[in-house]
Subunit: 471 residues, 2 copies
Amino acid sequence: MSTNHGEPYKVYLSEAEIPQQFYNVRADMATDHAPILHPGTLQPVTLADLEPIFCAELARQELNDRDRLIDIPEQVLDFYRMYRPSPLIRAYYLEKALDTPAKIFYKYEGGNTSGSHKLNSAIAQAFYAKDQGLTGLTTETGAGQWGTAMSMACVYFGLKLDVFMVKVSYEQKPYRKIIMHTYGADIYASPSNTTEVGRKMLADDPASLGSLGTAISEAVERAVTSEGRRYVLGSVLNQVLMHQSIIGLEAKAALEKLGEYPDILIGCAGGGSNLGGLMAPFMQDRLAGQRAPHFIAVEPASCPSMTRGRFAYDFCDLGQVTPLAKMYTLGHAFMPSANHAGGLRYHGMSPILSQLYHDGYLDEARAVEQTSVFEAAVTFARAEGTLPAPESAHAVRVAIDEALRCKQSGEAKTILFGLTGNGTLDLAAYSSYLDGTMSDYIPTDADLARSFQSIPRLPGIQEGFADESQG
Amino acid sequence: MSTNHGEPYKVYLSEAEIPQQFYNVRADMATDHAPILHPGTLQPVTLADLEPIFCAELARQELNDRDRLIDIPEQVLDFYRMYRPSPLIRAYYLEKALDTPAKIFYKYEGGNTSGSHKLNSAIAQAFYAKDQGLTGLTTETGAGQWGTAMSMACVYFGLKLDVFMVKVSYEQKPYRKIIMHTYGADIYASPSNTTEVGRKMLADDPASLGSLGTAISEAVERAVTSEGRRYVLGSVLNQVLMHQSIIGLEAKAALEKLGEYPDILIGCAGGGSNLGGLMAPFMQDRLAGQRAPHFIAVEPASCPSMTRGRFAYDFCDLGQVTPLAKMYTLGHAFMPSANHAGGLRYHGMSPILSQLYHDGYLDEARAVEQTSVFEAAVTFARAEGTLPAPESAHAVRVAIDEALRCKQSGEAKTILFGLTGNGTLDLAAYSSYLDGTMSDYIPTDADLARSFQSIPRLPGIQEGFADESQG
């Protein structure tokens, strides 16, 4: 007898059912997020401010708070058809292993060669660059998923790509370098001596292992000092969340085919692109006052921007070359512990998600420790076959916790989570979990008080944030 | 305008359309392959000979030359539904990049976490072991795909697994060890000091880097000297080709939905499991005297069993503990050059494929050099997104060659090839190609004459093979 009682394990929409429009949740928000500010003038940024850095259409999308739906260009749809729709999978074997009455669904975005959902926004961003007549792009990457996705997208449209890769990842993840190189990108360990800001950081600390904030500063500098290039970013930005809405739109359509609607929706959150994308059409229901899931953002206890950060204006990068965004932040000088293996290392959070969380629409943020994340990852892998990326395993952890809670209460809730990527290039982290050398790290209040010092005091806008005691 | 002119890129059959029966091509062969011989008695092996080594049902399948169709057990179908049907993909962008009138289709088996088609047979073999009441299995692995697949299959059914991994791979591919460990298997670098045959090999050559033949010998010894264990093998055997027929059955059904039938069918061939599986239902057409594709087996020039080997009885392993099979072989003492990175390193070839090739039903074998294989792999990756496994890239090479031939002749042929796996854990090989340090290696006639010496002279069965000059 089959475990699935004749129901399908996987729902694949047809290629004709791929959404034709991105959904811009910002158009439906009760309170828009605070405007992002120019780092020099402290005035809300304008299109003219953004266009030297971003592709023109992406700059427009970044500032667009009115249009609910944006047509997906045909060339982008054409690429999506290579690897989308991604499957919505019922975790029958995980349910069985947990002996839970809950129904667990996951939207799996790790089936493409980049290994994650990042490709969804990468190909859109590369298209707009190509369409504008640019010759290349620059970006940064941490664990390497975004850099891989941008490499695939750029080679597809014949664009050059410089990737600044956080030095600690560059050294620990040689395979990520090679795969980006295979797709034609040039890779620099950040901080590098190829930019002004990189040379300054190396002068301050020659042994610096880098951070996303550092790498962003370098990539932006490279873009604005090169002919025909612009900068692209894989998370945090409004445009990225909008591109990633394709995840949620597909998931919702697939669930509708099954007659299902989630009671709980779970996503890991680093910069917020995956959770923002998965939740978008369900958040639309919430914002319209309709039935909606309980939304849970999951973050690492070692980089707890939503659960322990402040809702304040901060820079998006260490070098302070980017605009200021009002968001949950640990301070742009925050550096996650080197023993943190699970990604999601960004000091801030998407302004959209931050505002929704602040206003109570995003119900809950939960911080989890990495050994429990990997324990969940191994349980999931052995039951469902697929090896999760460490980032995605944060969502797996909470999905399992919620399913076990259902087991106790006897409630048959429907859980939807995002399995954003596969862990094939993260096996070193699995090894340290399996051999018992992985440890947990939770920053102390004193650690955070120090990093909060980097949150700027802005005369007339926000005062004294860096001086307040934590809490 | 879309590149695909409204046709789908990918055809996914529904889960209900997963084949319910394996196809046993042997039942339709005009001439059956020569019987496999017991290494002690030199008599055709019996079920009783095989049962101490193999699971009982698998031993029956190995000797079954009569039943055309074998029901797939429900528990195996249940697992297949987690990751099957695999997609049949039209390579629109590769066609465009090559500017060829050919239609190129590929059946992609690399979307599961094992990364290859090996999982199809692994789960069947694990099921029959569980069903027989065994507690564990033993096997060998070269590049690591088969070991990973068996690890996933064994943890699923709660079976223990010992994997003997060819030492050179064990040292070069740490990620493969970790992924098998994640799925609960125990891994030994072969030759190891945990078996008699391993200790003997180490005594003869302490620096031995191992070979598939060595690892097979160790795994068989471990199985027959342990309680409740049997040995499993991922290629070469009749049973494995039969399990892999699911690839061809799905591919044929998906092509039928598109109104297509291949003119050319291409598969890489190491032990023959992928090509045997992909070609099976099309070979059925050929054997029935109907329209059939031109079949091409692709092998590495550095391990050219079909193009330069002999059709003779030989041992399947270096330690001579396995039965003798009549097959194309380079001699069981053949060791591929250490600079060969592309898998497909086995000294022999499936007896079924060998017989079909000998009799002219399998039309052609072609040997290709590894730098041209990786050149094709990078072309494919940049056009189609997916990074091919080096093994699979052998088929990509010939598919591209055939498509370019169509461009010259103007013929719009339909090409089908097997993309058996993804290359995510083979990036070190990509790196050596990209940085120009990869070289080709073709054994000389004198090299092969030496390895042919290990082909046994069998009184009254085959004489003098080891003494003949090559040709």
